[in-house]
Symmetry: C2
Subunit: 178 residues, 2 copies
């Protein structure tokens, strides 16, 4: 297949390629003894499930250098993205610009876990105004104005949202797109 004829697929990082919730929970556990398997109420952000005195702590964590450097990849993400590259022009599109200190960490993290994605296919954005055919994202603010096929990647905070084609994990992405 001519490489340029392949549809373009935009994939989000946090809570899609990277298990950012796990990193937060590791820090809350380490610093405040919060249980790693704390009940995450559907439809709530992770920090909304925490004791009230910790409500603002996530902003401190997420702005620290290194926060994004050692996040575990989501299960089956690496193998599935590698396979998707055969059929799609895969782009990683992360709204990294909100957090200055995340930029180098995110690029280095991609180099570690997804070295087969070239720099030409990485975009750090504000608004995700990308011209792709498919977008996988856990945030409807990114999907809402996108004109291609929208796949909502399940995360506790989006469990109550309806009206979107949903994928619950990377095996489901593989079933749907491969």
């Amino acid at each position: 297949m001519n490489k340029d004829d392949r549809p373009r697929l935009a994939i989000d990082m946090d809570e899609v390629l990277a298990d950012t919730h796990h990193k937060f929970l590791t820090l809350y556990h380490r610093d405040y003894g919060v249980a790693m398997d704390i009940h995450q109420e559907p439809g709530k952000e992770l920090h909304e499930n925490l004791p009230e005195n910790l409500n603002g702590q996530w902003k401190i964590y997420i702005n620290e250098k290194g926060f994004f450097r050692d996040i575990p990849p989501m299960p089956d993400a690496i193998e599935t993205v590698r396979a998707l590259q055969e059929r799609y022009n895969v782009y990683v599109v992360s709204a990294a610009m909100e957090f200055r200190n995340s930029l180098e960490d995110k690029l280095d993290w991609l180099g570690d876990h997804f070295p087969f994605i070239p720099w030409t296919h990485i975009l750090f954005t504000g608004e995700k105004i990308v011209a792709t055919d498919v977008m996988i994202d856990d945030r409807i603010k990114n999907l809402a104005h996108f004109e291609g096929r929208k796949l909502l990647f399940t995360s506790p905070h989006n469990l109550l949202i309806t009206g979107y084609e949903r994928v619950n994990n990377w095996r489901e992405v593989a079933e749907l797109l491969l």
Copy 2:
């Protein structure tokens, strides 16, 4: 006017918002005594105009931390972009991902000179696969596959290129778009 109805305008950084050539020349002058007003042969990259032994030096400069931090803005860029924001949704789109060490510097530089552009309107990319109506760029590799209105911003290296709507400076951008 409803803000969301404004056309989207993507603007490049290097040699469009930022006088990157000037920064290179300053370093070549400082380190090797190259004249600041060295003749730049139309159609050639800046480094192709230099003595042969300096051919690879630009890659060393451009990968250094700080290179992008203190570049002078292009004449009339700041005032014109501010005025363009009244009529356009202005996005800065820079292929910064090629140079890891440029990411923080470029974001900080924009904060200094274009603080009126919010982080939501900044994109650091590889390929510029953006869904905007207009793109201003000095590189036809970025314009070639773009589907909107393409404005080639004049730079010595692109002087021999024909077939593009051309803007020679920011005053011409203002005349054309305002």
